[in-house]
């Protein structure tokens, strides 16, 4: 039974219709598996070693965040949003604060917009570096040599986190954005530190790319694996690098500019490969682009205030208009992170009535039943690593 020849894979395959002579087996992968990027459980139905059906079971990290958001005021929400996508907290904060700003009609000062752009691109670099390390670790294995690239990428990630620590005082969960601007201004010597960090990374990135691309085992493990065709990707709602690797030229940074992206040029990387290797190529190209954007902006940050509203004094000083609703989306390292917000909740309107998060990782997970079928068990980690889902975002 050649499953790849069909026009569309059936994710709801009825196992009773499978050939009775087949060597069927059900295999659980996760939730405690080092390569499932957190706590994901995939139930694999195998014919010999070939997957004929894959069913992902998320929910092992469900923290009830959307319900919690109804009980917290707008000012208290930012640190909660840090913890959804814990690989890119900075862009998550920005998604929430842009949603609140657009709803209230608050203008953000130009300096704060430039700072946000730089922070978003630095965060994209840090996130993709972590992805590169874990992706090669999944493919190569700890003992098999994959750990060496992981050690390098974590070394490169540390200076970026140091730069964030200089600015915000925290390595990880920053809480540096607020409605109307930023909370922390650029300290002395920050621009020089960012430039040093970018120079180092720009010098070393070709080396890391070459380690992967010239490795024949890496190419065999990635090319032609986990194909998601363009119509399927559009149908499932894939966004970000996963969609661009399926041949769709869509990037919210260029198509619906949010920070200072309307003042600069963003070159969007697109690949028509649709497979695991195409997703790898797109992410690597995005990293070079991010380095370019940061270098371009770091010297041109305009002077001025960093926040247009008063600093936060009390938790319920910002009130949302009752009955108004709005959907706002920005481009995070993983794709389109949308926030659907309805105003007029508890605490006399200081809490949102409803806050729905549209996570990009959840839609990437939806591609798994299509992308895994027809491959062997060892390809599961390669496909999963290339889709780069974060379970904190999937389960919320």
């Amino acid at each position: 039974m050649n499953l790849r020849q069909r026009d569309r894979i059936n994710p709801h395959l009825d196992l009773d219709t499978v050939d009775a002579a087949a060597d069927l087996m059900a295999l659980n992968m996760g939730p405690q598996h080092p390569s499932t990027h957190g706590v994901l459980r995939i139930k694999l139905f195998l014919d010999g070693e070939v997957i004929i059906k894959a069913v992902p079971y998320p929910g092992y990290l469900h923290r009830g965040v959307e319900k919690l958001c109804e009980r917290l005021t707008c000012v208290q929400l930012t640190p909660i949003f840090d913890k959804h996508d814990y690989v890119a907290p900075m862009t998550n904060e920005q998604a929430l604060n842009i949603a609140l700003e657009r709803m209230l009609g608050v203008e953000v000062p130009r300096r704060a917009r430039y700072m946000r752009t730089i922070l978003a691109e630095l965060q994209r670099l840090a996130s993709h570096l972590l992805w590169l390390g874990t992706f090669t670790l999944d493919i190569g294995g700890t003992i098999g040599g994959g750990a060496s690239l992981m050690m390098y990428t974590f070394r490169e990630r540390e200076p970026i986190l140091d730069v964030f620590e200089m600015l915000t005082g925290a390595r990880f969960h920053y809480n540096t954005h607020q409605v109307g601007g930023n909370r922390h201004d650029i300290p002395d010597g920050w621009a020089a530190a960012v430039k040093t960090c970018m120079d180092q990374l720009a010098a070393r990135m070709p080396e890391y790319e070459e380690q992967c691309v010239t490795n024949s085992v890496f190419l065999m493990r990635t090319k032609g694996i986990g194909v998601i065709e363009t119509p399927l990707a559009l149908e499932l709602g894939l966004t970000g690098p996963n969609l661009r690797a399926s041949g769709v030229d869509l990037d919210l940074r260029r198509d619906a500019p949010f920070h200072a992206y309307d003042e600069i040029k963003v070159n969007v990387a697109v690949s028509n490969g649709c497979d695991t290797h195409a997703r790898f190529e797109v992410r690597i190209a995005e990293m070079y682009e991010s380095i370019r954007i940061v270098r371009e902006l770091i010297d041109n940050v305009p002077e001025g205030p960093i926040c247009s509203l008063k600093p936060v004094r009390t938790v319920n000083q910002i009130k949302l208009p009752e009955g108004k609703q709005m959907y706002t989306a920005i481009e995070t390292p993983r794709g389109e992170l949308g926030t659907w917000l309805i105003g007029g909740g508890a605490e006399k309107g200081a809490c949102p009535y409803r806050l729905k998060i549209r996570p990009p990782s959840l839609h990437a997970m939806a591609a798994l039943p299509y992308a895994l079928v027809g491959h062997t068990v060892s390809d599961v980690v390669a496909v999963l690593g290339s889709l780069d889902p974060i379970m904190g975002e999937v389960d919320r």
Binding site: P31, Q32, H33, P34, G38, V39, G59, Y60, L61, H62, R63, G64, K67, L68, R71, L72, Q76, P79, I80, K83, Y86, V87, L130, G133, T134, M150, M151, Y152, F154, R155, R157, E158, R171, F172, H173, V315, A346, M391, G392
Partner: protein, 241 residues
């Protein structure tokens, strides 16, 4: 015929050594050597669920380098001595954590990393989150922070080594206390007070693998298999013979 003399688990040489003159000195030295090696070859089992897992990976990577303390991170519980609970434990995940903890061989230790694993942090009142992993497994060392810096993992490892040394020497070990939960702005709880108390109890019961009202989940046993009718019984016995 083997006679159980109560020393079957010891090496025979050990007994001979103990009774020889001056052998005790050698034995205590050997004991100290074993203690030393146990402390400096702790293998970690990462029970990594969320944000703290990334920081734990950083601790294992280049800058902090946990390997310099003789640790190896192994993804299977059967090889490991120390379980590091890094991240939020939900009610759905809690039975798995307990099962993995039970699969680890003795002697074993546990580290709770980050405020979610310690007390549940913001998610403490949420229906699906376990308020602290020490509800289900005994925790030896707590690392406070959200998430803790990577070098704090090293500090916790040193504290654990110190505890193990004292334990193996048979000395009194002061118990690590759960760090005080942070004071945060009052968040309204679900519904009225009685209802929220019920939710809290259900959280704890769910974490311990119990059902509603603290009753154990038991699949009702099927009724005893009834004896087959006469005709079938004779035919079965005929086939067997």
């Amino acid at each position: 015929m083997a006679i159980d003399d109560g020393r079957s688990f010891e090496h025979p040489l050990y007994h001979y050594w103990e009774n020889s003159p001056g052998g005790g000195i050698g034995l205590t030295t050997l004991d100290r050597l074993l203690m030393h090696s146990a402390r400096h070859s702790l293998w970690f089992f990462p029970m990594a669920t969320s944000c703290c897992a990334i920081e734990f990976m950083t601790a294992a990577a280049s800058r902090v380098d946990l390997d310099q303390a003789g640790t190896i991170i192994r993804p299977t519980p059967r090889h490991c001595d120390v379980m590091v609970v890094a991240g939020t434990i939900t009610v759905k995940m809690a039975p798995r954590v307990k099962k993995l903890w039970d699969q680890m061989p003795e002697p074993k230790w546990a580290i709770a990393m980050g405020s979610c694993a310690i007390c549940g942090d913001f998610y403490r009142d949420i229906y699906s989150v376990v308020p602290g992993v020490d509800v289900i497994i005994p925790v030896d060392v707590y690392i406070p922070g959200c998430p803790p810096n990577a070098d704090q993992v090293m500090v916790a490892l040193q504290r654990l080594q110190e505890k193990i040394k004292l334990q193996l020497e048979g000395k009194f070990v002061e118990r690590d206390l759960r760090p005080g939960t942070m004071i945060y702005p009052k968040i309204g709880t679900h519904g009225d007070a009685r209802q929220s108390a019920e939710v809290a109890q259900a959280q704890l019961d769910g974490a311990r693998g119990l059902g509603v009202g603290g009753k154990e989940h038991r699949v009702p046993r099927p009724a005893a298999v009834q004896a087959p009718p006469e005709a079938d019984a004779t035919s079965d016995s005929g086939e067997q013979s």
